[in-house]
Amino acid sequence: MATAATTAGSLRGRSWWAKHGPGMVVWFFLIIGTVLSLLPYVWMVFASFKDNNEIFSATIRFLPEQWRFENYVLAWTREPVARGILNSFIMAAGETAGNMVFAVLTAYAFARLRFRGRDFVFLLVLGTMMIPTQVTMIPQFILMRWLGWVNTYQGLIVPRMLTAFAIFLMRQFFLTIPFELEEAARIDGCGRLRCLISVLLPLTGPALATLAIFTFTQSWNEFFWPLIVVSSPEMRTIQLVISALRGQEMIEWGVLLAAVTISAIPTGILYVALQRYFVQGIVMSGIKG
């Protein structure tokens, strides 16, 4: 199009290009980026309705010739996908609830109360973010054995129930709320805990939502810790179920991809509905750098 315009008349062409060119370049790359980002998802969903022969065919066809809905039925009933989803829900909900309660309590002390030693403890908490989780994983597993928590929900949840990131996120948010609000309530004889619950928490909605969504997604996608803690098939989270299906001798790809598609639905819905908070989380975590 641009060349056609330039041949028509160089002056008019140049002004046309100056006006529309940059925008077209931007659109061109945006479309390429969109295709690259979405193509794997599109293929995943379509292939989850195919059988092995069709998935591994010599020509790329996205739409299935025959829609095999039974892949989903098989994944849900014959394979332990339903149980995996349930286990993942329990784990993610537990971790999210724990982080919300404990991070709020801790961050309140760090952000709103003044006492000696506070900043030192805060630095220690921040320092734990520099420890790779894999380093503490083996001793944590030994701890789970001592507690008898191997292959249990508490074993999955409790060691991930409070993170330094959650505390940091809530503290940053609490710092932005004016102190006068709380002081007025204090003068009226409001206790600390009541102050936190009835004055501060109502203002914390966006931060809490960000924290909840972040923790839930991360926990839903977690792989390593469940891999270590879970030892029986019925305790497997959805990620472990998928990994086990992929490890079989004869992989039924349609069923495997149906399981993958199912596993991506909960976080996918959260993401589409609450995208704003996901981005908020990155921006807030970016502050620390």
Binding site: G33, T34, P40, I131, L143, I242, A264, G289
Partner: protein, 322 residues
């Protein structure tokens, strides 16, 4: 008390040292502090978190080091103290060195892809076009999907015969590499997969950095006659230094900890070509049950990540000053 002392020291008139306040014992001082309601409440609020971190982070960190000095197979209750032998054995372990090399290769690949493409994507997302949040949402979506799910999909994309990439290449008469089945191409395959997952995420981080730059600078530079390259070179790049630093450190730390991708896609193969540090740690601990040795691997990883963070702090700290 402390404040009045500082004030007296600072006041210009006082030449003589102030009379020392009556010294109190540590316990008495703690008691005095805890008589304040605010301090008492503060510690009370911190208590659950402190106990929690002591049990689930502090103790494992210390105990992990203790285990790394032992020979222990976890099944038997008996540990044998062998001092630094696990660490010395690691130095001589060719498989570990290979894992270290693989991890470094993977990390360098990811860092280059992420820094370049995330930045370009962020510049793209920073253009003023309607519905840009929609595009931001699309580019970010891989970061919300689990590594396990992405790995399964990319197994097909990288399939040597029927995969998307090699079929595209065949359409233009190029025979693509055998990717995950070829020890030279397996790591690049993993890098592509991981890059696809992370570029959108870090693009949003870069975007936040770009949007944090005051438009005033650009306007001033334009008035002074700077072209887009000059503005980019002298405003965007230096102003984006802190963000780039954050992205760099995060990418390196994340890449050094890569595990699920390798576990699902290659299982460390072919022939150990994609075995990375954490995968080695996992196998030593939970396949061969060499807990002491695996803990030593974990500690080496810890030291590497810690050192990298410190080096980059210093290096980029200097670069930012110039």
């Amino acid at each position: 008390m402390g404040q009045t002392r500082v004030e007296r020291l600072r006041s210009p008139g006082s030449v003589l040292p102030p009379a020392a306040p009556p010294r109190k014992g540590l316990l008495a001082r703690i008691w005095g502090e805890l008589r304040r309601e605010e301090a008492r409440t503060g510690w009370l609020f911190l208590l659950p978190a402190m106990v929690y971190f002591a049990i689930f982070t502090g103790f494992p960190l210390a105990y992990g080091f203790w285990v790394s000095l032992q020979e222990w197979n976890m099944m038997s209750p008996r540990m044998t103290f062998i001092g630094a032998d696990n660490y010395l054995a690691l130095l001589d372990d060719p498989t570990f060195r290979e894992c270290l090399a693989n991890t470094t290769y993977f990390t360098v690949g990811i860092v280059i892809c992420v820094i370049v493409f995330s930045f370009l994507l962020a510049v793209l997302l920073n253009q003023k076009i309607r519905n840009m949040t929609l595009f931001r949402g699309i580019f970010y979506s891989p970061a919300v999907t689990s590594v396990v799910a992405i790995s399964v999909v990319w197994l097909w994309i990288l399939d040597p015969e029927y995969g998307f990439i090699n079929q595209l290449l065949r359409a233009v008469d190029v025979i693509g590499p055998r990717w995950l089945a070829d020890s030279n191409w397996a790591l690049p395959g993993l890098i592509m997969t991981a890059a696809w997952r992370n570029i959108g995420y870090f693009a949003v981080v870069f975007l936040a950095g770009l949007q944090g730059i005051d438009q005033m600078y650009y306007e001033a530079a334009s008035i002074d006659g700077a072209n887009w390259w000059g503005r980019f070179r002298h405003i965007t790049v230096p102003m984006l230094m802190p963000t780039t630093f954050f992205v760099l450190v995060m990418t390196i730390i994340l890449s050094f900890q890569v595990f699920a991708l390798v576990y699902v896609m290659t299982g460390g193969g072919p022939g150990g070509a994609t075995s990375v540090i954490v995968f080695y740690l996992y196998k030593q601990a939970f396949v061969y049950f060499r807990m002491g040795y695996a803990s030593a691997v974990g500690y080496v990883l810890f030291v590497i990540i810690f050192a990298l963070t410190l080096i980059q702090f210093r290096f980029l700290g200097k670069a930012a000053e110039v």
